[in-house]
């Protein structure tokens, strides 16, 4: 027993689970992969847990990992949808596990790794090909006109023009939902185009022409068949397909 006086006790989500009030039972079906255990074959495991209906799916996966099977491998960091670590295929859709609320997918949910990138273990995929596409777009401000002593001026309207594509968290949900990307490993994919867009339409940047030239090539924007999978998959609500269309138009009319 604790002695008095002590500091205050704050509630937390694990205590809340233990509190037994209003819990629901959820079955999580997870596609597993482990090159050291069963070679290149994946398999399914099912876990059943009691959880708070308002918990995140990420909390539920943690509960499995901490109390049932410590070998379950996944990436996560911020747990509120801004670091981009935990994109997964959840009930057939690319989503962030930390933005899915358990009650919205209960009583049974299926979790798989995102598609189109090599699986390394369970829900962890090889992100290197994805980042290679991103880095190929020169995703940094290019301006060789010399740095003024103060900030470069930019009106709120100019700032607004590329606002949507600044929101990309590099989670790969868009790129790994794109059927063209699955079938053509040279296509840079929607996330790379979004990040090119972010700089092409920034009034301070001078590298737009170079990026547009790259995106006009075979591996670039004209691979896109406008299926809108990327827009639907984006957990940040970026209008990805629209951004791709902006870039297509700029290439065709040489104007940006």
């Amino acid at each position: 027993m604790e002695t008095q006086p002590v500091g205050e006790v704050l509630a937390n989500s694990e205590d809340r689970r233990a509190g037994a009030s209003g819990k629901i039972t959820v079955t999580i079906r997870i596609r597993r992969f482990n090159p050291e255990l069963r070679g290149q074959e994946s398999w399914w495991d099912e876990f059943t847990i009691d959880t708070d209906p308002d918990d995140r799916l990420l909390d539920a996966l943690h509960q499995v990992k901490w109390y049932q099977d410590g070998t379950l491998a996944l990436r996560r960091s911020c747990a509120h949808g801004v670091c981009g670590s935990d994109a997964m295929l959840i009930n057939g859709q690319n989503r962030l596990a930390c933005k899915v609320i358990v009650k919205d997918v209960a009583p049974k949910v299926t979790v798989e790794p995102i598609r189109g990138l090599p699986v390394l273990k369970d829900l962890i995929v090889d992100m290197e090909p994805f980042f290679a596409g991103y880095e190929a777009m020169l995703p940094y401000l290019i301006n060789d006109e010399g740095e003024p002593r103060r900030e470069r001026l930019q009106s709120p309207e100019e700032r607004h023009r590329f606002d949507d594509t600044t929101k990309c968290i590099l989670c790969a949900a868009c790129t790994t939902s794109c059927p063209i990307f699955w079938g053509d490993d040279e296509y840079v994919g929607p996330a790379a185009i979004v990040n090119a867009h972010r700089f092409i339409y920034d009034s301070r940047d001078r590298g737009g022409r170079e990026r547009l030239q790259m995106l006009g090539e075979r591996t670039g924007v004209f691979r896109c068949r406008t299926t809108f999978n990327c827009t639907e998959a984006c957990p940040r609500g970026i209008e990805v397909t629209k951004a791709i269309q902006d870039v297509k138009r700029s290439i065709l009319f040489d104007r940006f």
Partner: protein
Amino acid sequence: MLLETLVHDIVIVGGGAAGLRAAIAAAEVSDRLSIALVSKVYPMRSHTVSAEGGAAAAMAADDSTELHAFDTIRGSDWLADQDAVEAFVAEAPDEIVRLEHWGCPWSREPDGTIAVRAFGGMSVNRTVFAADKTGFHLLHTLFQTSLKYEGIVRYDEFFVTRLLVEEGRCSGVAAMDLRDSEVRCIAGKAVILCTGGAGRIFPFTTNGAINTGDGMALAYRAGVPLKDMEFVQYHPTGLPGTGILMTEASRGEGGYLFNNQGRRFLEDYIPSKMELGPRDILSRAIIQEFEKGHGFDGPDGQYVHLDISHLGEETIDEKLFFLRELARNFIGIDPVHEPIPVRPVVHYMMGGVDTDLLGRTRLAGLHAAGETACVSMNGANRLGSNSLTECLVFGARVGRQAAEEALEAAEPSENPLAELAEVEQDRLVQTYLADRDGERIATIRKDLQTAMERGAGVFRTEESLKTAVEEVRGLRERYESVAIDDRDRAFNTELVTALELDNMLDVAEAVVRSGLERRESRGSHTRRDHPDRDDERYLRHSLAFSTPEGAKIDYIDATITQWPPAERTY
């Protein structure tokens, strides 16, 4: 056969704002330098990404560096080192402009200049921002800019488990590649720790799962003291349950806090500042409201209301878009129409690895910056929006300093380092990957968090801290028999978690020991049994040293330059 040694000039541990800023600063000193950036997550996943409100710098026409310094020192309850604060405020505006030149999408005034907003404890508007995802944009801008430098070599998803110290000098790190769990020896003439905070030692925190105090523990075990660890910042407005941060910008833009009587209760505590008071005072006020029964009752304990509905949908969507998204997504409340339930939540460690103004520690070759470090510019309480700028100013300083040292120093000798790394590899395999039964990580960690919350929360006593010291000691013993399920080499994330818990236990011990020894109330450290500030005994920084008997506490004087200690009034 010895492990291969990966030789660089500088090794940076951590890829958040401080680490990336340090890497760029070092690369700018000389393109001959090879800079290793070692991070357990891809850099853009670092916790900087979660910072919302903004970054402080005296940019506006009605502002001055003197005023920024005074606000910071008063906010720190006079424990900040004033020479550190002077360096910070002087270099802050240039860092903000530099980030602009690198493309940071700062929010703008109608005339095209960088906009500023109000923040707690700041006497004028001086917080620059990028909507309410400032940390996200700042981190991505730094990451993007780092891609331009060929000298920066990234080791993404490498977990550093030990500093390699040879002949009294830190000359590298042992780092486990998460892809295959092999330990690599990464050597450098200078090592910089930028691993962020340790909020995860508490159960209820804004901090992401990765904030486990790794750099603090690495330095502590290498004999470097941890400074001012008793000072833990509670942010007044987190969501109950998840701890998700409701940015201080919500109050900067004009949001109110109400108790269950429908009153803006802060008029009883800090009427001159109200919702724009500093975080320590507001967090205490909210807990005191709970004790009076003036909180609302919820499934996760008591809370108060944060109301921004009067700001209107347009302002909310322009300035607080992310806050609205978070509230809607995680608790199903739209703040345009309804108040948000909030409560104090662990947010930031004022303390950290003891460094000087150039980021140097007492161990030759070892440096630190950002939340991992304690320069100290935050003293007993940090002002909101000073920490992002701290990462920039002191990240740049330590990067330049390490570059100068690396250009002058001799090459580290590879063989002894590789041997040290090999010893580390053997330790990990024998301790964690051998077949054995024992206790799960999760139960030890949960008990640690509970002990910290009970013993070292917003209000503390001799008794609560003594109990916590005992409990943490007991948990350290239980940790000796920790066992994990996962024996794999590929992405053994359970092994990482076990090593993180090891780090958390060390950091937690430093926190409760330092707290027990500081028998006064100052800034965030509030002792019910010692309610007053005691400058005669404690206008000093605590230093926690690791010893076989546990943390030993010593003190050094705080540096006072222009602002003599005064009563902290608002």
